[in-house]
Each structure stands twice: as C-alpha cells, then as structure tokens.
C-alpha cells in the first residue's frame, strides 16, 4: 500500500437481505445490492467527499470503513490495517461520527459523555481530563455554555459539535464522518465545515465525509467521489470534475407546474426530446428545471424545452444559462438529479 494513502477501498460489494410481506404470514426475501464493487482511495491529510443521493451507498461504505459492517466482497484498509482482519487496529486510528442528532446518553452532560467515551477508548486520568477540556473549547461548546448541560437540552448544532468532539477524542489520524452537517442551521454548518478543513490542512488529519450537499462538497473537499446506486461514477478534484463537463452549460428554467402534472413524466419527455440529462429542483414558489446541454446546442435545447413546457401548460418565469457546477457534474454523470 502506498504510504501516502490513508484509506483504500478495493472492489467493495455489500448486499442486504430484506423481507417484503406478501400476505398475512408470508414474506418474500429480497436482496438489495448496496455496493456493487466500489474502489477509491483517500490520501493522507485531505478532505475527501463521498457525494451521492440518499440510498447511493454512502453510509454502507462509511460503516465498512469504520468496522461496523463486514463487506461481502472486496477489501478495505485504513492506515494500512485491514478493516476485517485487523478491525481493532483500525478502531485505534479512526474517529467516527455517524449521526449528529443522537448517539449519547441523554441524562449525562456533554463533558460527562465525552469522559465516558474517552475512557472506553482508552484514555484515563489527567490525559482524559485535559483532552476533554481541550475539545470542549475547540468545538466551541464551552463558549456556548453547553459543556455542563445535559445532552437532552442540546440543540442540533451542539449535538453535532459534541459528535465531532467524540470522534476527535483519541486524536486519530483519520476521521470518518457521515453527513456531519445534516440538519444544521447555516452558521453551525459553516463553522463545522471550517473546522473540518482546518483539521485536515493544519493538523494533517484525513477526513472522509459523506454528503448529499453539493455546495458543501464544493467548499470543503479536496477531492470528491460521486457515488450513485452502489457505484462510484467519478473521483477527482472539484475542479477536475467540472472540467469533465466544461464543454457543457447549465440551462436553468424557473417555472410553475400545473397541479396535475407528473414531474417524472415531464422530465422523461424533456430528456428524450433534447437528449440531455436534466433534473427538477422543487421550490416553494417556483420549480427549477436544470438541463446540462452542450454549449453549441444550447439555443436548440432551450427552444425544444420551452416548447415542451408550453405543451404541458407550465408557466415559464425565468431562463438562465450558467457555467457548470458540481451539481451539473452529478446530473451529467448520473443522467438525473434527485438530491
């Protein structure tokens, strides 16, 4: 294994067995293939994003890397340790945060929770006390007056900070974080993102973060893997990924849909008429139709799309042509939106 690689996944496959009730007493077994042979690596000291929609396989990947799930096929190594054969060694070099909204004892304060987990992870005495104080300060929980508050009184932002503090307890070289900013208000999400970047770029930690937030991935990730339906579609820097669709432009049409229209049917029509990948982003007042089109065909695609929208009795409010974003890369690679 290359010494510059912190995490290496090779051909990971994971299937889940689910049971579907088909009668009062009968169940049908169904196999869901969550990962279909994904491979990627994460370099030491970088923030690496696993970007994909719900059900893409992000959490399954993270759980395998965190030794919480055994893969059916393939191997994965963290800091050179095999996640199956050397799970205990892997556990010593990782910090994990899977959900921000729970995972602690409700009747203990933030400080007490950290002390308990710290002890469980092998810290003790003065070292534990010092590390807990350091983290409460670093994560801003002291400033928020939350260190000695019961966990049940925490806001989601405080919970997210505490979750990251636990992941950092043993000062591990690798952090594995599943949607660390999910549900946070913008200021909390922003400060957490800044902290993750600082941890990677100033302290040399390797941060693997999953997200379905394109904006977040674009801001914090040094490299991004786009994952969809259990497959890695592309791995590159955000810049590199954008280059893949540099010859394309993003056509954004603001519109109001008639009440009875099926958006999936409309999208399918536009896709087949224009030959371009597209997605519909739902807004409160207005929806946004995004079409990733080759720049030389943008006029033709616009005319075609507008005609179709007119046929479907959609009210068009705005038409914009933009440079591609990470979201456009995703639409281009997967052929659809759906975040």
């Amino acid at each position: 294994m290359n010494t510059n690689i912190a995490i290496e996944a090779i051909g990971l496959v994971k299937r889940y067995m689910t049971y579907e009730r088909i009668g009062l007493f009968r169940r049908r077994r169904r196999v869901v293939e969550a990962l279909k042979g994904i491979s990627f690596n994460v370099r030491k000291g970088e923030v690496f994003g696993l970007l994909g929609p719900n059900g893409a396989g992000k959490t399954t990947t993270v759980k395998i890397l965190a030794t919480l799930l055994l893969p059916d096929q393939g191997t994965a190594r963290v800091m050179g340790y095999d996640v199956v054969e050397e799970a205990n060694e892997v556990r010593k070099v990782i910090g994990v945060s899977l959900t921000v909204e729970k995972g602690f004892f409700w009747k203990l304060t933030g400080r007490e929770n950290l002390k308990y987990f710290g002890m469980l992870y092998g810290l003790d005495g003065q070292a534990l006390e010092r590390r807990v104080n350091e983290l409460l300060k670093m994560l801003g929980l002291d400033d928020l007056g939350a260190s000695d508050k019961l966990y049940e009184e925490y806001s989601l932002g405080m919970k997210a900070r505490l979750s990251l503090a636990r992941a950092l307890l043993t000062d591990p070289p690798v952090l594995i974080l599943d949607e660390p900013t999910l549900g946070l208000d913008p200021p909390s999400a922003r400060s957490l993102r800044e902290l993750l970047v600082r941890l990677a770029h100033e302290q040399g930690k390797t941060v693997l973060v999953t997200t379905h937030n394109m904006f977040e991935a674009e801001i914090i990730c040094d490299r991004v893997a786009i994952i969809n339906e259990g497959l890695i579609l592309a791995v590159d820097t955000v810049k590199g990924l954008k280059k893949k669709v540099a010859e394309d432009v993003s056509l954004e049409i603001g519109l109001i849909l008639p009440a009875k229209i099926s958006s999936s049917e409309l999208l399918e029509k536009i896709r087949s008429a224009t030959g371009c990948p597209c997605t519909l982003l739902h807004g409160e007042e207005m929806h946004k139709l995004k079409i990733v089109a080759p720049s030389e065909e943008v006029d033709e695609v616009t005319a075609l799309a507008l005609r179709l929208l007119h046929d479907y009795k959609c009210k068009v409010r705005r038409v914009d042509v933009k440079e591609p974003s990470l979201e456009d890369v995703f639409i281009k690679l997967t052929g659809r939106g759906g975040f």
């Binding site: 556990r91 203990l108 002390k115 002890m119 019961l150």
Partner: protein, 272 residues
C-alpha cells in the same frame, strides 16, 4: 487486566454520572424494594398471620426475612437480565451502539464488564436498605449471618447470570430488532421457573427440569436459605455455591464462544 479495569472504571463512571443527574429516579429505585416488600407482606397479613405462613411452608421462618431475601434476589436477577441482555437494545435506541463498538474492546466484554460495578453497587445498596429491618426481626447476631449469606448469594449468583444474560445480548445483536424485546415476556417466565413466585418443588416435572438448568434458581434458593435457616447449615450453602460456580463456568464459556459468532453475524448482517 488493564482492559478489564478500564471497562469496569468506565462502567462506574457512567453510573455515578447517571445517579448524580437523576436523583429522583435514584430515590424511587431505592424505595421500590420497600414498596414491593410492603405490598407482599401487606397482602400476606390480610390473609393470615406469621404463624399461618410458617404452618403453610412447614418451617419456622420469619416472613419478613423470607420476603426481604426474595425481593432483593429477584430484583437482582431481573436487573442483570435487563441490563446485560437488554443493553444492546438500549444502546441501539439511543444511537450509541456504534460508538461502543468502535472502542477497541469486544462489544460483549464492554456490555458485561461495564455492568458489574452497577450490579454490585445497586444490589448491595438495596440490601443495605434492609439492614435495620433484618436486625429488628432477627436480632444482630442472626441478622449479620443471614445478611452474609444473602451477600454471598447475590455475588455468586451474579456470575452465571452474567453469562446467561449475555446469551440474550447475542440474540438482540443478531436479530437487531428493537421492537422484539423478548425479555419483556421471558423474564417473568424465567422467574416463575426459578421459583421466585412458587417453590420449584410445586412446579410440574417438565418445569422443574427447566428450573434446574436456570442459574437464577440456585441464586434464589441460596438467598432464601439465609431466611429459612434457624441455624447455619454450611453443607447446604457450600452445595449451592458449588452449583453456582459450575454454572458460572458453563454459561460464561458458552456465552464467550457464541458471542464471537454473534458479533460477526451481526456485523455481516448490518444489524448493529
């Protein structure tokens, strides 16, 4: 040894914090055995006197001592089965299970070892609560002896029950379904078979066979022996101690071998 101590210490720490932050719940927990005892004795005295009780069971025994022993030991058995067996479900419910698993210890060891201090503390505290009552009804000399046997029963009785309850933890780990907490209906059955409500001798033969396989039967038997004895009968105590130690080895070895398999199956299935 270091790992063993770390897990014990983390258990003590967790419990002390919990007690500090939940005083009301601690007080109600301490009152509970007295309430239970009061209810059992109250019901008993409505239907008859202490003499009637002694006539019915055919031994000269104080019903207060008898039911104190029963109450403490039944609560201890229930506590172990819920806390060791059901802890997987609790940790899963609060979302802390993955973070306990990523600690560099076996999950089963964490569940069992971090529970031992809580068991010893709560059980002994509950027993301490009854000291004035036992001294009052038995006198100081007999009281000390009988309390000693109860402490022995509770400490030795814990050992096989830890392994026995760990088997439930394996089932919960593998099934991974929080709603199917079989402990809620299995616990009363186990207590029934163990002679907590009726003497084992009064149960049908097939139920007696189950009773002799359960470690809780001997824990309850040993604790009650303290109440039933008018004078020390060491042979009986040593016999029950031997059975409990044998069962401790058996159940803990079985649990140890199956837990590894259970953990692996749960990790494979994604149940954790």
């Amino acid at each position: 040894m270091g790992r063993f101590l770390t897990l014990m210490k983390s258990g003590i720490m967790l419990d002390l914090y919990w007690l500090k932050n939940n005083r009301a719940s601690f007080i109600s927990m301490m009152l509970w055995p007295y309430l239970m005892l009061g209810l059992v004795l109250g019901m008993g005295f409505i239907f008859g006197s202490s003499e009637a009780f002694q006539r019915n069971i055919g031994l000269k025994v104080n019903p207060i001592t008898y039911f104190v022993a029963s109450t403490v030991v039944v609560m201890a058995c229930l506590g172990i089965m819920w806390d060791v067996g059901g802890n997987v479900l609790f940790l899963k419910w609060i979302g802390a299970l993955p973070y306990v698993i990523v600690a560099p210890h076996r999950i089963s060891m964490t569940l069992i070892l971090s529970y031992i201090p809580r068991y010893l503390f709560l059980t002994m505290f509950q027993l301490l609560e009854f000291i004035p009552l036992i001294f009052l009804v038995e006198g100081i000399k007999q009281g000390i002896f009988k309390l000693g046997v109860m402490v022995l029963a509770l400490t030795l009785g814990m050992l096989p029950l830890l392994g026995f309850s760990a088997l439930f933890a394996i089932v919960f780990m593998v099934t991974g379904e929080e709603e199917s907490n079989l402990l809620s209906w299995l616990n009363p059955l186990i207590l029934l078979f163990s002679g907590a409500f009726y003497p084992v001798a009064l149960l049908p033969y097939w139920a007696q066979l189950i009773a002799w396989a359960l470690p809780s039967t001997y824990t309850i038997e040993l604790a009650r022996l303290s109440a039933l004895m008018g004078s020390p009968r060491f042979a009986q105590i040593i016999f029950l101690m031997g059975i409990l130690l044998g069962m401790a080895m058996f159940y803990n070895l079985v649990a140890y071998s199956f837990i590894g398999v259970g953990e692996r199956r749960a990790l494979k299935k994604g149940a954790l």
